[in-house]
């Protein structure tokens, strides 16, 4: 066993039976810790569940599910299992400004988080002598800081380039020659485009491999990025509510992302019946945070649809593997890496006086960038014979959407009765991106 292939070989290759024993111990400890959280305490008391009554991992299914709505209802600190004085950092769910959800960390949580990121970074080949350029947003979004401390944990050098300013990213790459790039997959293509625009061949950039996350992508896109930049591309997965990036990541086999299941218990459920789906079938991932201190979650519904595989991986890691995320079990859209719910667009439209109840959200990816178009049916109260007023109306709608979602949308005013009326639940979203899923 080559120790350089692993960051924490003992944990990452822990025998399945030993891991199950560890998971059970940690699950029991978790039950004790969540008794500090009113939401869970009430439930545990009502159902007469205590740690000592958890006899096997199958008992997990007797525990309640936790949803994003539960987190919102107890915003901002209702899910804290430690006193506020013990908090070391607070992040927020990415992008959305409508109803934010905050995620709190203790010092130990931050250490765990860095460890988990270090695991998949080392699986990709990271060593202390390397330099990593992080082109993720730094801020409430967990991507930038999560990976930053992961790289530092490994002992490699970080360039916190942050998101955007492609020309500067290229200058940094050319001058500082980092071996590793961390960003969203779509931003990697923007970088390749940016290089060509200034007459550089993106294949000559010093980047040798990259870790991508933050948005769904496809195997076709991986092939495209690897070809355009002449790199190896690795996938990783995480969500802020659970911890951020580091929940799972690919090994050199790149046949699924190893879930760090000594820290997260994962289930794959039918989103309607909430019964487990057979292994290898798509279902909603449900996560239990075994080691989180500040905000432990029991059976959190991620709404991400993926498949699980538990057959042994040639890399030696015993963490169960998950497929790419192929969709959502709710209506959340990820547009240019930002989470957008159709309800936020509706909320924005309602702030425009007299705005219509009829709208349609269209998402396209004509080139490499997601484009959001919102079609709004015009009606009498909104119509003016003056062009300046009509343009002001369109600008106002656009502004409200950007304020609510953080995303710039193309607003199209359309004639009455041109948006299809459906029987029952209105179809509000058309997602034409082939790369999504």
């Amino acid at each position: 066993m080559n120790a350089e292939l692993y960051w924490d070989a003992a944990s990452e290759t822990l025998a399945v039976a030993d891991k199950r024993a560890l998971q059970l111990d940690r699950l029991r400890a978790l039950i004790n810790r969540v008794a500090e959280v009113p939401f869970y305490r009430v439930w545990l008391q009502r159902h007469d569940v205590a740690a000592e009554r958890i006899r096997s991992l199958d008992d997990l299914r007797r525990l309640p599910l936790t949803t994003k709505d539960d987190l919102r209802r107890h915003h901002p600190f209702g899910f804290l299992a430690v006193p506020r004085s013990q908090l070391a950092r607070i992040h927020g769910s990415s992008g959305t400004t409508g109803t934010p959800t905050f995620v709190a960390y203790t010092k130990n949580d931050l250490t765990t988080w860095a460890e988990l990121c270090a695991r998949f970074l080392v699986a990709g080949g990271l060593q202390p002598e390397h330099t990593v350029q992080i082109a993720f947003g730094y801020g409430l979004f967990t991507g930038g800081f999560g990976l930053h401390y992961g790289v530092e944990r490994v002992g490699a050098a970080v360039i916190p380039a942050a998101a955007g300013n492609t020309r500067r990213q290229l200058t940094i790459m050319r001058d500082l020659a980092p071996e590793v790039l961390i960003c969203t997959p779509s931003y990697a293509l923007t970088i390749a485009d940016g290089a060509r625009e200034i007459g550089m061949d993106p294949r000559t950039l010093p980047i040798r491999w990259a870790h991508f996350g933050g948005e769904p992508w496809t195997e076709d896109l991986r092939i495209e990025i690897e070809h355009q930049l002449d790199i190896m591309a690795f996938n990783n997965y995480g969500l802020s509510e659970v911890i951020g990036p580091g929940v799972s990541g690919e090994c050199p086999e790149r046949s699924g992302m190893h879930i760090q299941d000594d820290h997260f218990l994962v289930e794959c459920l039918d989103p309607d019946t909430l019964e487990p789906v057979p292994e290898g079938s798509p279902g909603e991932l449900v996560m239990t945070t075994l080691t989180r201190e500040a905000m432990p979650l029991i059976r959190y519904r991620t709404r991400d649809i993926a498949c699980l595989y538990s057959d042994p991986c040639p890399c030696g890691r015993t963490g169960i593997r998950m497929s790419r995320v192929s969709g959502r079990s709710d209506d959340m859209l990820i547009i240019r890496g930002v989470n957008v719910f159709p309800s936020q667009i509706e909320e924005a439209l309602l702030r425009v006086e007299g705005a219509t109840a009829h709208y349609l959200i269209e998402v396209d990816r004509p080139g490499i960038r997601d484009e959001l178009t919102v079609k709004v049916e015009l009606h009498r109260e909104l119509f003016s014979d003056r062009m300046d007023r009509m343009q002001a109306l369109r600008d106002q709608i656009s502004h409200e959407i950007q304020t609510t979602t953080g995303i710039r949308a193309q607003v199209e005013l359309v004639e009455p009765r041109t948006i299809e009326r459906s029987v029952g639940k209105a179809k509000r979203v058309i997602d034409r991106r082939t790369g999504a899923g």
Partner: protein, 145 residues
């Protein structure tokens, strides 16, 4: 004095202009003049017809959004500088024009300007003061044979 102008909202895509014009034609209503303001995505069609109330009904029944606006028609000499003289008068009096369009009249040597003013009453006063001729509805539609 003031004329009723119909405005319609249209998406800017092929065929969108035909439909309302055909609906009006089918109802036997003649269009005296029209103007179209457009952007890449949508347009506003403005129409002057004699029987505006019936035209509005026809269009609304067809599903269009119709806006009714008071505009003012002004007679000008159909010669170089004819329009410029009227605009100069309005400008000097500080009258705000939202938009305007012109068409040549059946009467030789005359053209007609249609104005949408921010304050139509102020505009009428200024035009009268300078002996500019405002065309009323009956007279205008007398051209509509």
């Amino acid at each position: 004095m003031k004329l009723q102008q119909l405005s319609l909202f249209l998406e800017n895509r092929p065929g969108r202009l035909d439909a309302p014009l055909e609906a009006i034609a089918a109802a036997g209503i003649n269009i005296l003049t029209l103007s179209l303001a457009d952007t890449a995505q949508f347009g506003i069609l403005r129409l002057i017809v004699r029987d505006w109330d019936r035209a509005r009904q026809v269009l609304e029944d067809g599903g269009w959004i119709v806006n009714l606006t008071e505009v003012i028609a002004v007679d000008v000499e159909d010669r170089p500088g004819g329009l410029a003289e009227v605009l100069k008068v309005l400008d000097q009096a500080g009258v705000n024009i939202e938009y305007m369009y012109a068409f040549s009249s059946h009467r030789p040597g005359k053209a007609m300007l249609i104005f949408r003013f921010e304050d139509p009453d102020q505009a009428v006063a200024v035009l009268r003061q300078h002996d500019l001729r405002i065309v009323d509805g009956d007279e205008l539609h007398a051209e509509d044979h």
